[in-house]
Symmetry: C2
Subunit: 325 residues, 2 copies
């Protein structure tokens, strides 16, 4: 059994706990938290709930620590720190800062002889893998990534920060017509506005100026100004009833030529009922890889690009050749 530790028990940490139940070569040994351990209601009765300050005592009791913090402030500190003690996995998703994060984590993991796999999930993660495979196979071509339909936490948060807004959910929606052009091999040049629309469901304070809120949303730089955005004002009950789920997904396409005559389309897509549960399932598969590769003597910081696919699945090499190739 591979012994897993979870650091952080939010949506992602709870997803990891569920994912472990689907993998019979793994067990959840401990959940580490910054909160008072007694305050956590944990589903896995056999798992210890431990304050983060006592994590060092688990150095030899855990095979892989899955770090479930946020990319803005948690992971840049936690991943380098805990790679000094454990094989670790994180889902660092600030694309522009990946090289810096990689270097920081690598320094720790080189010293400790552990494996740290960073930026695991679906984007970065599975989408990145598909970009790489498709580019390697069709070097002469164009890449397209579409996201959604799904909830963007960052955009929902941005709407919530507007004065007069009680709560909000924002959906990112790919434009079907743009997707179809790519699928037909037309290699369109697509502006930001031509690829996605944004839809907001907003609960406003009693007496708030809804026209002003709508205007503020639609003109918000970076988040909404470059998109066609629809705003719906709804009641708190309606938001809770119809918009509590966290679905997401998206499409990665590459269109490329192998000769003057022949073009090809490679398409990968995800349709996810729960973004955090799916992301957690990817984290858990890569935790298996970290464990196995470290057992073979490998260490240092890795990304999904460095991991041979066989390490992800709980079957022998003979089995996968026989049943999946």
């Amino acid at each position: 059994m591979i012994k897993i530790g979870i650091l952080g028990y939010g949506n992602l940490g709870k997803g990891v706990e569920k994912a472990i139940l689907k993998n019979n070569d793994m067990e959840l040994t401990a959940i580490f938290t910054r909160r008072n351990p007694d305050s956590l209601k944990v589903s896995t009765k056999t798992a210890k709930v431990v304050n983060i300050n006592e994590i060092e005592q688990y150095k030899d009791k855990i095979d892989v620590l899955i770090i479930c913090g946020g990319s803005a402030t948690d992971l840049p500190v936690q991943t380098p720190k805990y790679a000094e003690l454990f094989n670790v996995i994180d889902s660092f998703d600030t694309h522009a800062k990946i090289p810096e994060h990689f270097n920081n984590v690598d320094r720790s993991a080189q010293k400790s002889g552990k494996i740290a796999i960073i930026s695991v999930g679906w984007d970065p993660g599975l989408f990145s893998l598909n970009r790489l495979y498709a580019n390697a196979i069709l070097p002469d071509g164009s890449d397209y990534t579409f996201w959604g339909k799904g909830v963007s936490q960052g955009h929902s948060d941005a709407v919530r920060r507007i004065e007069g807004v009680v709560d909000a959910k924002q959906y990112t929606i790919p434009i079907e017509n743009a997707l179809e052009k790519v699928r037909k091999g037309e290699n369109p040049l697509l502006s930001t506005r031509e690829k996605h629309t944004r839809e907001c469901f907003v609960v406003a304070k009693d007496g708030a100026d809804k026209a002003k809120i709508e205007q503020e949303i639609k003109t918000m730089p970076n988040y909404f100004a470059d998109y066609d955005t629809t705003v719906h004002f709804i009641s708190e009950e309606e938001l809770k009833k119809n918009h509590s789920a966290i679905p997401h997904g998206g499409f990665v396409l590459r269109s490329g030529k192998t000769s003057d005559e022949n073009s090809h389309i490679i398409e990968y897509s995800l349709k996810l009922d729960s973004n955090p549960e799916f992301t957690s399932s990817v984290l858990v598969a890569y935790a298996r890889a970290a464990y196995r590769m470290n057992k073979k003597g490998e260490y240092g910081c890795k990304t999904v690009f460095d991991i041979a696919p066989k390490y992800l699945i709980s079957k022998t090499d003979e089995e996968i050749r026989k049943t999946m190739l």
Copy 2:
């Protein structure tokens, strides 16, 4: 520059030649043939055309030999034989015989210290990779593979062997309604007949009994009896004009649950203008991986499951982390 040799100059070998032109870290050094070398019209002027009997002289002149023979009789002999001299790639696609082929090739490659990557292409190959990734991430789920719309050489050949048939092309067509059920997460149990239809374009001899030919096609065991098949009789000119291309493609889907509430769909699809040109492009990317891994001291028989994605692309690790993750 990675020096490539091609063994066999049919559709696949010609595709490899074209693929090398799209990859600027590779050059085509030699084409080996069982035919008289003078009889081959080769596009790459700088490549030698050599009789297969002289291949040993190229032992130190070629980094990777891409073997472009057929799975029925060529590859079971050629891949083990030439893995004694070269890093080799093949596209062995007889799924049931892969374990046996793997063992034969591994014996040679272990002895020679070379790398042999077998069963490279899109199925087996890219489809296999997607089955593995999706199964690792969603262990609790169902797999679906659909092929087409595309030309099946095996089925076209089977029709051509019928008495009274001059020429024929067979298309395998996925049933859209079945695909939609899978995409909706209905987890349907699908019979062979419910997944694909078959469509044949047949040129009959003058005076042949067309009703009898149609009957023979539709009742042919293994090939057609389990499918709904449509047969069209057309002229030789029409076959040449409208059915000379070799398109193919298909879909790999996995539908799986991460908890009682939440299901997810992972879908991978290919739409290919030319099956051999695309397959060749996959072979060439894996040739790069064979070269790089062997440089690092690795050897033995491998499949796509054993190859870390980074080895496939002609960019540095830093570049791919920065631009593709």
